[in-house]
Amino acid sequence: MNPWHSLAGRTILVTGGAGYLGSAVTEELDRSAGKVLCLDLPGKAAAFVRERGLRNTLAYDVDLTDVAGLTPALDAIMNEHGVPDGVVHFAFASSAGKTVEELLPSDLDSTFCRALTPAFLLTRQVAERMRSRGSGSIVLYGSMYGMVSPDPRIYHLPMRPNPIDYGASKAAVIQMTKYFAVHYGASGIRVNCVTPGPFPNPNVQRAHPGLIADLSAKTALRRIGVNSEIVGPTLFLLGDGASYVTGQSLVVDGGWTVW
C-alpha cells in the first residue's frame, strides 16, 4: 500500500506551474506524481520543463485570463489525459498596481476578471467532470492579504503598498473555496486553499532588502518563507492524508496573522 501522502500514479493539473511558488510544486509533483499538466503563459511552462529536465510534466500554453479560450483549452487537455485527480491553481495574482486614490472602476473590474473568473471557471469545469468519478482534490491559492490588510508602513517609497484590489480578490478566493467545498462535497470532491504569508520572489528579495527585513520582523518565525515551504502544504491537501479536510484555508504565513 502506498503511504497516505503518496500521489503515485495521480494526474495533477497545475496552473501558473512555472512561477516562483508554482515551480517548486511542479518540480516535486514531477518526482512524486504520475503525471503533471503544467499550464502557464505562452512559452513559460515549456521553458521551465526543459531547463529543469522534468520528465513527467507536460507543458501547456494557456493564458487563463483569456476566458473564451479557457474552456476549450481545458476540455482538450482533459480529453487527452483524462480528468485530473488533483488541481493546483496558482494563476494568478492580479492587481492594477495602483493606490486607493488612483484606482479606477475599470481597474477593479479588470482585477476581479483576471483573478476570480478563471478560478471560478476552472474549478467548475474540472469539478463537474470529477463528479462521475466521485473523487478529486482542488487547491486554490489565497493570501494573508485576503485575511488582513498590508501594513503601509513597511512599503517604503518608491515602493507602493500591496494594493487593495489584490487583497479583495484573495479574500474572495477564500470564500469561493468554502462555497465550492459545500457545493461539491456530496460528490466526494474536496476544495481547499493554501493561504501564504510573505513569499517574495528572488527579484523582490534582491531589490528591496529593507522590505524583507520588515516582512521578517512581522512573522513569529522572524523570516520570510521560501517556495520549497509551500510544497508540503499543497501536496498534503492534494493527497489522501487530507481526506476529511475540505473548505479550509491552510495558512502558511510563519505566524504573520497570530498576533
Binding site: H5, G185, G188, G232
Partner: protein, 263 residues
C-alpha cells in the same frame, strides 16, 4: 534558481511525545506517528491504560514508549522531560491530545467545572511550558495541539435531541481557548524556531460503540462530505504539521471537519 529541494513529509529520526494515548483518537494518532517513522513516547495518567496499544505495536514489530505522568504536577512533567531526553537524546515534537471530561451537562455542580479547569487548562499550559522550553533550548521543534471544531462553533442542540448525548460547556471553553493560546504560543516560541499549530477535528465515528442513530443521521447531513470522520483521518494532518513539510506553518488552526464549519 531558488532552492526547491522538497522538505520531507516524514518523521524519520524525530522523537515525538504524545500526551493522551487512549480513547478514540489517541491510538490512531500513535499509529500515524509510528507509520511516519517517529520514535514515539506516549504519556498518560496511567501506564496500565497503555498496555493494550503498546502490545499491539509490539506484535507488529514496533516499539512505542509508554510513560506515566501527572499533568497537574510540574515536577512530574519535568521528570518526564528528563527521562525522555536521557533515553532518546532529544525531543522534536509534541502532540497534545489529553482531555478530561469531568463535566457531563450544563447544570453540573461547579466542582466539575473547576476540575475541568484544573485538568484541561492548567494541565495544558503546564505541559506545553515544560516541553516547549525544552525544545527551545534544543533549537527547534513542533507542537500540535488537538482542539475541536467545537472550539470554533457552538453546539447545535438539534443534533442531540432524542439522544442521551450531551455537549457540556467546559469542552467549548477549553477547545476555544486552546486555539487562541496556540496563536500566543506560536508568537512566544517563534524566535526559538518552535512551531505551534492546532488541529480541530469534527465529530469522529466510533465503530466500537457507534453514536446514537438519531444523532448520526442528523450530524452526517451537517457535513459536506456526508459522514463523520474516521479517527485515522486525523493522522495525516498531525504528521504534516509535525514534519518539515510544514516548516513555515505556525499559529494555524487546521480544521478537519469534512466541511462542517465551511457552510
Amino acid at each position: 534558481m531558488p532552492d526547491t529541494t522538497p522538505l520531507p513529509l516524514t518523521l524519520q529520526g524525530k522523537v515525538v511525545v504524545q500526551f493522551g494515548g487512549t480513547g478514540l483518537l489517541g491510538p490512531a494518532l500513535i499509529d500515524a506517528l509510528v507509520a511516519a517513522g517517529a520514535t514515539v513516547v506516549i504519556a498518560s495518567r496511567s501506564r496500565d491504560s497503555l498496555k493494550e496499544i503498546v502490545a499491539a505495536h509490539a506484535a507488529a514489530g514496533n516499539t512505542v514508549h509508554p510513560e506515566e505522568v501527572d499533568q497537574h504536577s510540574e515536577p512530574s512533567l519535568q521528570a518526564l522531560r528528563d527521562r525522555v531526553l536521557a533515553q532518546h537524546g532529544r525531543i522534536d515534537g509534541v502532540v497534545y491530545n489529553s482531555a478530561s471530561r469531568p463535566m457531563k451537562s450544563f447544570g453540573d455542580d461547579l466542582a466539575a467545572w473547576r476540575q475541568s479547569m484544573d485538568d484541561n487548562a492548567t494541565g495544558f499550559i503546564a505541559t506545553i511550558r515544560v516541553f516547549g522550553d525544552a525544545m527551545a533550548k534544543l533549537g527547534s521543534g513542533s507542537i500540535v495541539n488537538i482542539s475541536s471544531m467545537y472550539g470554533v462553533v457552538g453546539m447545535n442542540p438539534w443534533l442531540y435531541e432524542g439522544t442521551s448525548m450531551g455537549a457540556p460547556p467546559d469542552y467549548f471553553f477549553h477547545k476555544g481557548g486552546m486555539i487562541n493560546v496556540t496563536r500566543y504560543l506560536a508568537a512566544y516560541y517563534g524566535k526559538s524556531n518552535i512551531r505551534v499549530n492546532v488541529v480541530s477535528p469534527g465529530g469522529i465515528y466510533n465503530p466500537a460503540k457507534p453514536q446514537a442513530p438519531a444523532f448520526l443521521e442528523k450530524y452526517e447531513k451537517m457535513t459536506m462530505l456526508g459522514r463523520m470522520a474516521e479517527a485515522r483521518e486525523l493522522g495525516g494532518p498531525v504528521v504534516f504539521l509535525l514534519s518539515d513539510a510544514g516548516r513555515y506553518v505556525t499559529g494555524a488552526n487546521l480544521l478537519v471537519d469534512g466541511g462542517y464549519t465551511a457552510r
